[in-house]
């Protein structure tokens, strides 16, 4: 039995509850003998995928594989995939029960980003529409 299992087991005994080690930070890993290998493997796979996606986005521009006006869409798709790879392999966001906090934090972050960026675009576009640019006023004065 590794160290990590020991600590989890102990915690469960004293509590009588299925809880998570209070000392565990999100993404924390116990460096037991068995875990170093698997942990490293995750990072290497992540690095490989991230590199692949980066190369793909540069490479796409130089080929005729995609209809030219569709390239921004393709780049956005690749960028989102890139974010996904970072979240899964480097920030350890999973669907496991010990990840509820992380998933909620991610959802909160996405919500705020959408609200602030979406709101700003809406407001600024509205202002742009309502306020005459300076040179237009100048032209009126002439």
């Amino acid at each position: 039995m590794s160290n990590a299992d020991d600590r989890h087991a102990q915690r469960r005994d004293t509590d009588g509850l299925e809880r998570y080690d209070i000392d565990t930070a999100p993404g924390d890993e116990y460096l037991g003998d068995a875990e170093v290998g698997s942990g490293l493997r995750g990072y290497v796979i992540g690095l490989g995928l991230a590199t692949l996606l980066t190369i793909a986005s540069f490479w796409l521009l130089g080929t005729n594989l995609i209809w030219a006006p569709g390239i921004p869409v393709a780049l956005i798709v690749l960028a989102i995939a890139q974010m996904g790879v970072h979240l899964v392999f480097f920030l350890h966001i999973t669907t496991g029960p010990d990840n509820t906090n992380n998933a909620l934090a991610l959802a909160f972050g996405v919500l705020i980003v959408v609200l602030v960026i979406g709101g700003s675009i809406w407001i600024m576009a509205n202002l742009d529409h309502n306020l005459m640019p300076t040179n237009a006023i100048m032209n009126m004065n002439r």
């Binding site: 809880r19 209070i22 999100p26 906090n101 705020i112 609200l115 709101g119 600024m124 202002l127």
Partner: protein, 668 residues
């Protein structure tokens, strides 16, 4: 060699700032001389400056806040007296100086008065209420505090060396751009707020982690105290909103230092984007301040009504509702900037809706008091004063949320009266309630009740006497930030507001006397058991002041109001719980990292303001080296032996046993 720095930047020709800063400098030098000559420095260094104990850091935050509140208050006195003297006259503050005074007042009150006060109370109380030994990252906590202190120091240095911003507390471009503010004032603002902002962001991260990951065994989210919930919501808002502030100010910094044009008039810049972004931070900031205050009121009202908080779950829901919706209303700070009716209407409606969350809370507090045995101690008085005052402020807020009304009232003293109404009546009353409520927990003795009640009544009356006239002159058309005015109809109201300021000043003096008197009479005001108010949450389960490890054995929590149920069981069985098995406790070692980092941050900030580039490099290098040294530390923790833990806990248990034996109140 010294950038823009020279002897000319010290305002020798202006007696007012020179005398003020000479007095402050003498006071600081006097205190330092006393500390060193009387040999207190090793104690201060060991027990406070390098401390990573959340309670000590909380006390230092609160002390910083109290000092900065005094500084900001003296600015307020200057503004009120200037306007009282400036009817068809120039008054005594020249426009240039007056503009710096109102800018410094806003900046100091929000960033260095209200924020450290709220964060200080969170530091002191949250880990105790969660039933844990410290925050998640104790040394980071110390770094946060010292970076905040750095920001406060830089703002105050601007009093003597150079000048402060003349732009108001939010430096709107193009006024804040180099073309219109060529001096160092805006740079002082930028670097002070940026450095303190880093500290605040680190605090936010620290508290989110602490509350989500480190609760006492058995404590579920829905058995956390209300103050922990509101602290969690405020910390989430800090983490989400402060990066927006940092990015916006960084763009303005690029404009000023490298000739970028994010917010300039020329080359495609858009100053309206600054207003938009700064309020995308600014509105959540309002709730970062007031949510913890709501938590304090919940604790105080429940304790002093001797009843559990009414509608605990609806309170949690209202808190989270406010947390999200606070990100959907920021346009109401600039209805008149030129957006169309659709945008203004959407944000106006969202603003009215956010008042529903606060309304739920107000009713919950009223129902908590209903049928309770209410004790009118000082913290409860602050809470009652808050409920009345805040409802008035909320109603003027909902009025301002109606865009057509806002077109008439914006930029007037009506607006100024509104936001002082909610910030003083909400945040400051909350902070003072928390200060009197938790003072015995922090220091082991209560504050003097008589002086506290006097301070409350003077502050409350002073507040109304100052701001009701400002509401009125606002409706009569007086705009904010006026150095002098010529309208006879405003004059009597401005004089009344000035008189109100005198009453408030008496309140401030009463509060200072309260502290002095309480320290002198501390033996009589001693809190022996650690539970002076018949409290309900876990902080009252510890001795006052709590030992460094807080709890001899981590409490096992079942259900809401964990300490109340423990206490009721003790009263029922007429004996304390069995003594726990004492074990040695590991605690984090003290570390000077925070202080040294902040020292270099001060050097770097000052050098950036004055364009002394070699000093910037020195400061950055020093701060980084400090971090590296900390990261390579060998022994992060020390052990408190079980015998020592047992000695401290047994002393407290015997005091509690005695209190239980003489207890005459109701038994379950």
């Amino acid at each position: 060699m010294l950038g823009k720095l020279s002897w000319d930047v010290i305002p020798f020709d202006q007696p007012l700032p020179m005398i003020a800063s000479a007095v402050v400098a003498l006071a600081i030098l006097g205190v330092l001389a006393w500390v060193f000559l009387a040999g207190h420095f090793p104690y201060l260094w060991r027990e406070w400056i390098t401390s990573v104990d959340h309670k000590r850091i909380g006390v230092m935050y609160t002390l910083l806040a109290l000092l900065m509140l005094l500084r900001g208050f003296s600015d307020a006195v200057m503004m009120r007296s200037q306007q009282a003297l400036a009817f068809q006259a120039p008054g005594y503050l020249p426009p240039d100086h007056f503009n710096q005074v109102f800018s410094a007042h806003g900046t100091i009150m929000i960033f260095f008065g209200a924020m450290p006060f709220v964060i200080g109370l969170m530091n002191l109380v949250v880990p105790l209420q969660l039933g844990v030994r410290d925050v998640a990252f104790p040394t980071l906590n110390s770094v946060s505090f010292w970076l905040t202190a750095t920001g406060a120091l830089l703002v105050n240095i601007s009093l003597v060396i150079g000048e402060f911003a003349r732009t108001g507390w939010l430096p709107y471009p193009p006024l804040s751009e180099t073309a219109y503010s060529p001096g160092v004032g805006v740079d002082y603002y930028l670097w002070a707020v940026q450095i303190a902002g880093v500290g605040t962001l680190l605090t936010g991260i620290n508290f989110v982690t602490t509350i989500l990951k480190m609760r006492a065994p058995g404590m579920s989210y829905l058995s956390m105290s209300m103050f922990c919930w509101t602290s969690l919501a405020a910390s989430l808002l800090i983490v989400a909103a402060f990066p927006i502030l940092t990015a916006t100010l960084a763009m303005l910094t690029l404009d000023r230092y490298f000739g970028f044009h994010f917010f300039t008039n020329e080359a495609g810049g858009n100053m309206l984007m600054f207003v938009n972004l700064i309020w995308a931070w600014g509105h959540p900031e309002v709730y970062i301040l007031v949510l913890p205050a709501f938590g304090i009121f919940s604790e105080v009202i429940s304790t002093f009504s001797s009843k559990p908080l009414f509608g605990y779950r609806s309170m949690v829901a209202a808190t989270l509702f406010i947390c999200i919706v606070s990100f959907m209303v920021w346009l109401h700070h600039f209805f008149t900037m030129g957006a169309g009716a659709d945008v203004n209407a959407a944000f106006g409606i969202a603003t009215s809706i956010i008042a529903v969350g606060t309304g739920v809370k107000i009713y919950n507090w009223m129902f908590t008091m209903y049928g309770g045995r209410i004790r009118f101690a000082t913290p409860m008085l602050w809470s009652l004063g808050f409920m009345v005052t805040f409802v008035i402020g909320g109603m003027t807020g909902v009025l301002l949320a109606v865009p057509p009304a806002d077109f008439l009232l914006h930029n007037s003293l009506f607006l100024v009266a509104h936001f002082h109404n909610v910030i003083i009546g909400g945040v400051l009353f909350g902070a003072f309630a928390g200060y009197t409520y938790w003072f015995p927990k922090a220091f082991g003795f209560r504050l003097h009740e008589g002086w506290g009640k006097l301070a409350f009544w003077l502050t409350l009356i002073g507040f109304y006497a100052t701001f009701v006239p400002l509401y009125t002159v606002g409706l009569l058309g007086m705009t904010r930030r006026m150095q002098h005015f010529d309208v006879p109809a405003w004059y009597p109201w401005v004089l009344v507001a000035g008189a109100g300021m005198l009453i408030t000043t008496a309140g401030v003096v009463a509060q200072i006397i309260q502290l002095v008197v309480s320290i002198r009479q501390r033996a009589a005001l001693r809190d022996v058991t650690g539970d002076p108010w018949d409290g309900r949450s876990l902080e009252w389960a510890t001795p006052s002041p709590p030992p460094v490890f807080n709890f001899a054995a981590l409490p096992h929590v079942e259900g809401e109001e964990p300490y109340w149920s423990i206490k009721q069981r003790a009263r029922e069985q007429n004996r304390l719980r069995d003594e726990p098995e004492y074990e040695p406790i590991e605690m984090p070692r003290n570390s000077p990292t925070g202080f040294i980092c902040a020292f270099f941050a001060t050097v770097m900030g000052f050098a950036l303001i004055w364009h002394i580039w070699w000093m910037v490099a020195l400061g950055a290098l020093g701060a980084f080296a400090t971090f590296v040294v900390f990261a390579w530390r060998d022994i992060p923790e020390y052990v408190i032996p079980a015998a020592e833990v047992a000695r401290i806990d047994r002393a407290n248990r015997s005091a509690r046993r005695e209190a239980l034996a003489t207890y005459t109140g109701p038994r379950p």
